[in-house]
Each structure stands twice: as structure tokens, then as C-alpha cells.
Symmetry: C2
Subunit: 161 residues, 2 copies
């Protein structure tokens, strides 16, 4: 007998994982899970920014990394990601790079905001064309040197992923 | 005698690392380095999406992870990140979450575009309010269940990071 978890069951697993690591002081109250096209759970993960000393260790990125490791490919085409909160731009980007086309999220950006996580300011920064130098300053330098590398790559005629 | 690498030397180290892993077929032609406020190099890394089976293993994310591991904290306040190409939204987000306020980049988005890496489409997706369902579909579900977790976290009165 094959047991396929319901949509709600999957979200509850993500919540349960987040609750565990939150209580262990490993990170914030965020969980995620990746399922494949057949509904099999490939990964369940949570935010471990504090315990991993890694600002990128958000729940969605951890779930994508674990799912990719499980199937041995960075390409998660056909998968769906469940996340207990609307993804930040970093996690949104990782989802798109992993070729995942469906995100099911629980809490809204304003919910995260109400407990002090200001995820939305990065979206605002991007919508304002990365121009707020109080958040981040971007300078272009040594473009010619870096372009050489691109040209070498281009000459190798590799598959783009 | 303390040797501090020049700006250009640091970028060249990032290029050199990228060239190595590109030629080993570990990932794309992208390198990055993180230096601390005193100019010490904390990390040099490159894109290892293919060899790590990890869509999030872009050069900047790898460099941020390595630098954080080196100092034992997710907080890279005062650091600068060098990257051979303008960061994608995922890497931009990771940089901001790591509290890095300066990015020095080499190639422009249009340069990446010209060798087939369409990083800019994720910026476009965000600027268009995540509305293009050909790229990604976001659905809100089980918000009430997820909100419980936020409320538990809020009641713990933890430091926000």
C-alpha cells in the first residue's frame, strides 16, 4: 500500500519540523517540504540560520538542497515546495533556479512582519531598482577581467542550466 | 609583515577559482570572495551547482557560507563581497541577510545574458509582482495552521536576526 500524504499533512510536517528547531534555538519559525510530481515527500526542512552559522539556511533553501541531494540532481522539475511562510527573494530565486514551478505557502509577508521578520524590505529594494544604498551598495569593477572568463566559458559550448 | 590583497587581486582570486571549477565541470563561470572590514580574505568560492547537485550553490552563496563558517556566525557585518558577475536575486538576498552592505561585481547582467545565463528574468518576475505563472505559481494555503507557529515564536520573545 502506498500512502500519499495530503496537502495539509505535508504542511503540518513542515510546521512540526520548524517547531522542533525553533525550540532548539536553531533558527526562526519557518519550515518547508519538497514533494515530487507523484506526491512523494523528498525533503522536510526548517530554518537553521543560527545553528549552521549560515544566513542562507532558510527553510526553503534547506529543503531544496536536501531534495536535490536525494535525487542526485540540482533539477527539481515537476516538484512542488510547501513553505510555512511566503518565500523571501533569496528562497524565491532558489526555487526558480531549481526549476520548481509551484509554491504553496502558509503565512503572508505581513504575518512575518508582525513578529519582526521584515522579509518584504528585500522585495522593496529590488522593486526600487537596488537603489537604496542604506541597504546595499553595488559597484561595478574589473568587468574586462571577468568578461574573459565568460568568453572562455562560451567557447566551451556547454549546456546552460 | 601583513599583506593585504588589493581590490583587483581579490577579484582575480575569484576569477581563478571560477576558472578552475568551470574547467572541472563543477558549475558555471562565476566566482566570489568575502573580505572582512580589515581587508582579510575570509573566503573564495565559485559556482558548484553541478558537482554539489544544489541549485543554490552559486558563487556568492558558497562564499557567504564559507566566510560564515570561518568566523562562526551568520552575521557578516562590515564585510564586502566580490563577485565576478552581478548577483541574481537569490544571491542578493543572501548578501542582505548576511548583513553585508557592499558588493563589488564584474560582469553586468547583459554580459551573463550574452552567454546564455538569463539571471535577469527573476528580477523581472519580482518587479512584475510575482504574477507570471509561466515562471512560478504561488498559492496561499493553511495560513491558520502556520500562524500558530508564528504566535508560539512571538511568545518566546527571542532576538530577531
Amino acid at each position: 500500500m502506498i500512502t500519499i500524504d495530503s496537502d495539509r499533512d505535508i504542511m503540518l510536517k513542515a510546521i512540526e519540523r520548524a517547531r522542533k528547531t525553533m525550540n532548539e534555538d536553531k533558527g526562526g519559525p519557518f519550515g518547508a517540504a519538497v514533494i515530487d510530481a507523484e506526491g512523494n515527500i523528498l525533503s522536510v526542512a526548517s530554518n537553521t540560520v543560527l545553528s549552521d552559522h549560515d544566513a542562507s539556511a532558510h527553510a526553503e533553501i534547506n529543503a531544496i538542497r536536501a531534495a536535490s541531494k536525494k535525487i542526485g540532481s540540482h533539477d527539481l522539475t515537476g516538484c512542488t515546495i510547501y513553505t510555512t511562510a511566503h518565500p523571501c527573494p533569496m528562497c524565491l530565486g532558489a526555487t526558480i533556479w531549481a526549476n520548481i514551478k509551484n509554491i504553496i505557502y502558509g503565512c503572508r509577508p505581513e504575518d512575518a512582519d508582525s513578529i519582526g521578520f521584515r522579509d518584504d524590505f528585500i522585495y522593496e529594494f529590488i522593486r526600487n531598482d537596488l537603489s537604496d544604498t542604506n541597504i546595499l551598495k553595488l559597484d561595478e569593477k574589473y568587468r574586462e577581467e571577468c568578461l574573459k572568463l565568460f568568453k572562455e566559458y562560451d567557447a566551451m559550448d556547454k549546456e546552460i542550466y
